[in-house]
Amino acid sequence: MTAGAPTRDATMVTVRERTPEKPRRWSADDAFALALRLASLAVLAAVLLLIWQTWLGSRPAIQAYGLRFLTGTAWDPVAEKFGALPYVVGTLVTSGIALLLAVPFGIGAAVFLSEIAPPRTGAVISFLIELLASIPSIVYGLWGVFVLAPFLRTLVEPWLIKHLGFLPLFQGFPFGLGILPAGLVLAIMVVPTVTSVTREILRALPDSLRGAALALGATRAEAIGVTLDAARPGILGAVILALGRALGETMAVTMLIGNTNHLSWSLLGPGATMASVIANEFTEAVGKLHLAALFEVALVLFLVSLVVNAVARLIVLAATGGRRDVAGAA
């Protein structure tokens, strides 16, 4: 029992002092605390297990290819040539598209929820956005394949080709499946993260900011600009958190990206991400090296998302003044 406001601890201390203590030996309390500590170590063990197992599995590939693994563009299981660059690029491009779309809309929605909407409306919409976040990836994938893809193929992509086709990004044929559709469904999936975290960060800001801006004659929008400016570091954390989610997202992307290992400039063409190549090839990997290469893709993906998440959480914690911990311990 350590958590709580200072008054709580003060009472605790008096209770302890009045209890007549025998010379301390190993007590049931110590055993209990030890058991709880061991259980909490399971969390650390889980992370170590993920690193250890993916590293173990990928050793043959690491030995065979070294750093060339990340820069090679050829992925040919038959010839046992494995370069993961197309998947790294695919992951970055789809996540980039997702953030490009999700960040402005997500922040706009967060501003609406915390600064503009009447409290009750805000609560209802926040709840809906939380629902959006709880929908399983596979359901997004199904919807993406049967609703989003035909819509893009018949309406959006022909338009892009006609009007923006001079850019290499929008050349090719309207497939409906490809990098752009995958990025779009990713955007829908990560937007709740951007909105929820940004909303919390805006709420954590002192009201005097808005008040001062309004008192100086700022319009509503200008006052919002002031709060957004103050929230900038926290919003960056929200964006990186969303990036972490986008990088590792598997099912919906695998179903929509079209799956090819060729690099191309066109966003309309098919591609693949690190997560999607694992999902597609893992159970069918025949050669030892093929499997090891997929393990290595998983290892790289995990390390990258570990770093991204760690950084994002540090930023968010700092931006909210470690708010979660204000309620409890240190």
Partner: protein, 288 residues
Amino acid sequence: MSRERPDVVLPAGVHWRRRVANRVAIGGCVLATALVVLPLGLLVLRLLESGLHGLSLGFFLHMPKPVGEPGGGMANAIVGTLIVVGIGAAIAVPVGVAAGVYLAEYGREQLANVVRYTADVLAGAPSIVVGVAVFGLLVVPMGRFSALAGGVALAVLMLPTVVRATEEVVRLVPASYRQAALALGAPSWVATLRVVLPAARAGVTTAALLAVARASGETAPLLFTALGNRFWSVHLDQPIATLPVMIYDYARAPYSDWNSQAWTGALTLLVLVTVLSALMRLATRNIR
């Protein structure tokens, strides 16, 4: 914000450009919110439209039929999901609750800060990586895909949710409960187990169910662990069908009756996952 916000009335002297900018910015925020919520509406509507007509008792009770034969259900996948998620919960809930109690009761130790942070980071781990790691841990040594491996993979994914949510609800128990127990002469561990934890029971149950709900929708970690199975199996050491993986297989198949069963499966999954977690969220709000 939960306070009233009086409308800002701009005085007459404000330049028209600022007025327009104000309108545009606020309108933009409203539009952004609408666009963020829009997919939810579209998705739910389409799920109901395509999923409902395949919904029948047989869907829950019958086995999958070969392509072309009408009827057939996903009974094995539904039972499989229950089994795999059950294994996951059996591992993650006791360990996670204990770890959560630790964070709430001994939360000032350095170890607690490390565990808290690691749990947050683990929560962001790509679920497919968990599948790959458990493949190496269990599937390779056992020589086959199994329900057990699927359950372990889900346990890893549930753990951070259970830990963090348990910590939060245990913290909500008033300190006076604990102090009263100690004043009556109970040792600290008895106070925790017999007084604090029972007081937080509703919250801990909610935490566990939230984790279960999330895990039941996971597909990626099951692809290389539980694999899938066209047949009835409840053996823990054999491949087992699960609802998310079956939806994936049926959605990719080039047969329209399979596709329509995928929609019904997705509707079932959505009710299972989203409705469960929505209820949990409402419940935790009331506890607070």
